[in-house]
C-alpha cells in the first residue's frame, strides 16, 4: 500500500509514510519528554555553630559537586522556622577552620542575595568530586528555629541565570539547650613546710656560733598573703644537767642584737627566697619581723616566750623560704655543760 500525494504545480509527490514519519518525529519528543531536574550533590551538609532553640548562629556549608558545569552561585535554603536576615551584606564568609578533607569554597564571598529562607553566595567553578566548605558569620544573619528534629533545607549550586546544577537536601536538629556550663572553684590553701625539727648549734665559745639553720617554706594562694611567728620555750639555752642558762641577748625593739658586742642567744631569720611567682613580697617590717632581720653573721633578734612575728608577705606565692638560724656567744665564765638546748615553735598562717 503505497500512495503518493500530488502537490500539483509540478512539485514532487510525497509518500504518505514519509508524512507519518515526519509527524512522529515532531510528536514523540513531546509525548515522551521528562521534566528537567538538577542532579544531586555527592555530599552536602550545613553545620551550625549553635543548635539551641532561638539562638543566633553562624555555620558552615559544605558540598561536593556531582555535575561538570560552571557554577557561579550557591544557594543555601534554610529549613522552615529559621529566621534569616534579608541583608546580603550581613552574610559575610570565611574559609578558616574547615574540615581537613575539605577545600576552601572556590570564589566564595559575601552573599549576593538573601530573601526568605534563601541565601545566595557567589561561587567559582567547582571541581567534580571535591568537597568545598565555607563559614558564614553568626552576626545578624540566622536565628535557629524551635527545637525539633529533621528540619530539612537544601544546598543548590547554580550556573548563571540562575539555573540549578546540583542540589541536595540536608537536615538539622535543634535542641532546647546546647551548652554545658562548667563551673569550678579553687579554695584558698596554705602550705607550710619545716625542713627539720632539730638544729645543731655546735660548741659554743666566746665567738659567735651559729646553727646550721632550718628552713620554713610557705606557699599560698591567699590574696592577703601570710604571716609567720616564732616563740622560744625558755628565751634562753638551758642546761638541764647543770641548771646553767645562756639568756637571750637584747630586747625586742625592732632592731637585731649583734653578738659581736654582746653575749647571749639570738635568732636570725633570713628571707632566703622571695618567690617571683605570685603577687606577694616578703617583708620584715618595723614591728613585724624587723627584730629578726640580722644582716650579718653575728646578728639576730631577741627571743621571747610569746609569739613574735618574724616575717610577712602581702600576697600569693608559690614558695617563699625563710631560714631560721640560732646564734649564741658565751662569756668566758659560762658554766660548762653539754646539754644546752631550747625549743623554738614556728607557726605560720594565711592573713585575714
Amino acid at each position: 500500500m503505497y500512495r503518493e500525494i500530488s502537490l500539483g504545480n509540478g512539485m514532487r509527490k510525497i509518500s504518505f509514510s514519509s508524512i507519518v514519519v515526519f509527524v512522529l518525529v515532531l510528536i514523540l519528543p513531546i509525548l515522551f519528554s521528562e521534566e528537567a531536574h538538577a542532579a544531586g550533590l555527592q555530599q552536602a551538609y550545613v553545620r551550625l555553630d549553635r543548635l539551641a532553640d532561638g539562638a543566633t548562629t553562624g555555620g558552615m556549608v559544605c558540598a561536593k559537586s556531582a555535575t561538570a558545569s560552571v557554577e557561579t552561585t550557591v544557594k543555601v535554603t534554610f529549613p522552615s522556622g529559621f529566621a534569616t536576615v534579608d541583608t546580603p551584606a550581613n552574610w559575610t564568609v570565611t574559609t578558616t577552620n574547615i574540615p581537613a578533607d575539605a577545600t576552601a569554597w572556590i570564589g566564595i564571598g559575601t552573599a549576593s542575595a538573601a530573601s526568605g529562607q534563601d541565601v545566595t553566595f557567589p561561587s567559582g567553578d567547582m571541581v567534580v568530586g571535591t568537597l568545598y566548605c565555607f563559614n558564614f558569620t553568626g552576626t545578624s544573619t540566622l536565628t535557629n528555629a524551635s527545637a525539633a528534629n529533621n528540619l530539612v533545607g537544601t544546598i543548590t549550586t547554580q550556573l548563571a541565570g540562575p539555573t540549578a546544577i546540583d542540589s541536595s537536601s540536608y537536615a538539622l536538629s535543634i535542641v532546647t539547650n546546647d551548652q554545658i556550663v562548667v563551673s569550678a572553684s579553687v579554695p584558698a590553701t596554705f602550705s607550710f613546710a619545716l625542713s627539720g625539727n632539730t638544729d645543731t648549734m655546735g660548741t659554743l665559745s666566746t665567738t659567735t656560733a651559729s646553727s646550721t639553720g632550718k628552713t620554713v617554706t610557705i606557699g599560698t594562694n591567699a590574696a592577703s598573703g601570710w604571716v609567720a611567728w616564732v616563740k622560744s620555750a625558755n628565751a634562753a639555752l638551758n642546761s638541764a644537767s647543770t641548771g646553767a642558762t645562756i639568756a637571750t641577748a637584747g630586747t625586742v625593739n625592732n632592731a637585731p642584737s649583734d653578738l659581736a658586742a654582746l653575749t647571749g642567744y639570738v635568732l636570725d631569720v633570713d628571707v632566703t627566697t622571695d618567690s617571683a611567682t605570685g603577687t606577694g613580697s616578703v617583708t620584715q617590717a618595723s614591728d613585724y619581723g624587723a627584730e629578726y632581720n640580722g644582716t650579718n653573721t653575728t646578728s639576730g633578734g631577741t627571743l621571747s616566750t610569746t609569739f613574735q612575728p618574724i616575717a610577712a608577705s602581702s600576697g600569693t606565692t608559690d614558695g617563699d623560704v625563710l631560714t631560721l638560724i640560732e646564734r649564741a656567744k658565751i662569756s668566758a665564765v659560762q658554766g660548762a655543760a653539754t646539754d644546752y638546748t631550747d625549743t623554738l615553735t614556728v607557726v605560720a598562717a594565711g592573713r585575714f
Binding site: 607550710f192 625542713s195 625539727n197 609569739f307 631550747d342 623554738l344 598562717a349
Partner: protein, 353 residues
C-alpha cells in the same frame, strides 16, 4: 627457783606480745629528718552567728610529707597589732572563755602522706556573747621529738587557720576612720607611686572596707584607677591596718628585679628595683601634678558608709627633661648659626650687587 622461772617466762611472754602488737599496729612514723609539711584550707574563715546558737565549719588539712603523721589541734587566739593591723598570735589565757566554745570532730588524728583530712570545728556561742572573737586553730605534730643529742635545739612547727567569729547583735558598732592617706614621696622621677591608706577600726567588730583611688591630672579625670583592699581584708577592732597600693601603669617604670624565679634582694633584705623601658607603653609617660582621690565604703550594718581622702604629688622625669633640654639647646644653637650664615650670605650677595 620456779617462781623466778615463772617471772622470766612471764616477762618474755609480755615482751613477745608487745613486739607482736608493734608489728601489727605500728606507731605513726614521722619523717626521718623531722621535716613536716602541712597544707590547710580554707583560710581565713569568717563566721557569723547569733548569740545562743552554734556554727560549724569544715577545715581541711593535708599531710604533704612522705611519712604518716600523727597531728594535733591546739587552740590559740589572735588579735591585731594596734599600729599596723597585722595579726598577733597569742597563747590562751585563763580568762579566754570564748576558747571553750570551740570543739573539733577530732583533736588528734593520723594522716597518711598526701591524705586530706576534714576536721569539723564547732563553735557553741552562748547567749551573752557579742561582737568579734578571733581564734587561731594550729595544726602541728602530736608528739614532736625533743632532741636528746647535745648541742642541738628543737624546732617545732605548725600551721594556723585563723577564724573570725562574729556573734551578731544589734548594738554592734561598725566604724572606720582614715588616719592616713599618703604617697611614699612628694615628687617622683618615675613611677611607681605607692599610696598608703591607714584605716582605724573604731568600732566593736571587724569590718572590711574597700574602694578605689581615682588619679586625676588637672582636668583629665581618672588617668588611673586603683583598688584598695580588693581582697576584703578585715580590720580588727581597736587596730589600724595599712593598705599599700602602687600605681605602676607608666613608662618608664621601676619594677622588682627578678632572677631565676626569685626577687633579687640587697644585703639588707630589701628588694632591688630596676627601671624598665617598654617603648610600647611610651604613651604612658607620666609628668606633672597629679591628684589622687580615695573613696572607700564599708557596711555599718544599715548602709554603706563612704570614706574619702585626697593627696597630690608630682612626677618630674628630670633626666628625660634634661636630655630634652640638652637636645633643644643644640638645635637652637644650630638654628641660630644657620640663620646667621644665611643672613651673612644674603647680606654679602646684596653688597656685591
Amino acid at each position: 627457783m620456779n617462781h623466778m622461772r615463772f617471772q622470766n617466762n612471764k616477762a618474755l611472754f609480755l615482751g613477745l606480745v608487745f613486739v607482736f602488737i608493734l608489728i601489727l599496729f605500728p606507731l605513726p612514723s614521722s619523717a626521718a629528718d623531722g621535716s613536716l609539711h602541712l597544707v590547710t584550707s580554707p583560710l581565713p574563715i569568717n563566721l557569723v552567728t547569733t548569740p545562743g546558737s552554734s556554727v560549724t565549719t569544715p577545715i581541711k588539712i593535708k599531710n604533704g610529707g612522705t611519712q604518716t603523721e600523727q597531728l594535733k589541734i591546739t587552740l590559740m587566739k589572735f588579735k591585731a597589732y594596734e599600729s599596723n593591723g597585722q595579726p598577733q598570735l597569742m597563747d590562751p589565757e585563763p580568762t579566754d572563755d570564748f576558747l571553750t566554745w570551740a570543739s573539733f570532730s577530732e583533736d588528734t588524728f593520723t594522716a597518711a602522706p598526701d591524705e586530706w583530712k576534714t576536721i569539723t570545728a564547732t563553735f557553741n556561742v552562748p547567749q551573752d556573747a557579742a561582737f568579734g572573737y578571733y581564734y587561731a586553730i594550729v595544726f602541728s605534730r602530736a608528739h614532736d621529738e625533743i632532741p636528746t643529742d647535745s648541742k642541738q635545739t628543737a624546732v617545732v612547727g605548725g600551721t594556723a587557720v585563723l577564724v573570725l567569729l562574729e556573734a551578731r547583735v544589734d548594738d554592734a558598732k561598725r566604724s572606720v576612720e582614715v588616719t592616713e592617706f599618703s604617697t611614699d614621696k612628694q615628687i617622683y622621677e618615675f613611677l611607681p607611686a605607692t599610696f598608703t591608706v591607714k584605716l582605724k577600726n573604731t568600732g566593736s567588730v571587724h569590718v572590711a572596707p574597700r574602694g578605689n583611688i581615682f588619679i586625676n591630672k588637672g582636668d583629665e579625670h581618672d588617668v588611673a584607677l586603683l583598688e584598695i583592699n580588693a581582697n576584703k581584708g578585715n580590720i580588727l577592732p581597736n587596730s589600724t591596718r595599712d593598705f599599700k597600693e602602687p600605681w605602676k601603669d607608666a613608662f618608664p617604670v621601676y619594677v622588682e628585679k627578678k632572677q631565676d624565679g626569685k626577687v633579687v634582694l640587697d644585703e639588707a633584705g630589701n628588694q632591688v628595683m630596676e627601671l624598665v623601658w617598654d617603648f610600647g607603653q611610651a604613651s604612658k609617660l607620666r609628668w606633672g601634678k597629679y591628684t589622687a582621690k580615695m573613696l572607700l565604703i564599708y557596711d555599718d550594718g544599715h548602709r554603706d558608709v563612704p570614706i574619702e581622702g585626697e593627696v597630690s604629688f608630682w612626677v618630674v622625669p628630670w633626666r628625660l627633661i634634661g636630655v630634652g633640654l640638652f637636645i633643644l639647646v643644640f638645635v637652637l644653637i644650630g638654628l641660630k648659626n644657620t640663620l646667621q650664615n644665611m643672613w651673612k650670605n644674603v647680606h654679602g650677595w646684596f653688597e656685591k650687587k
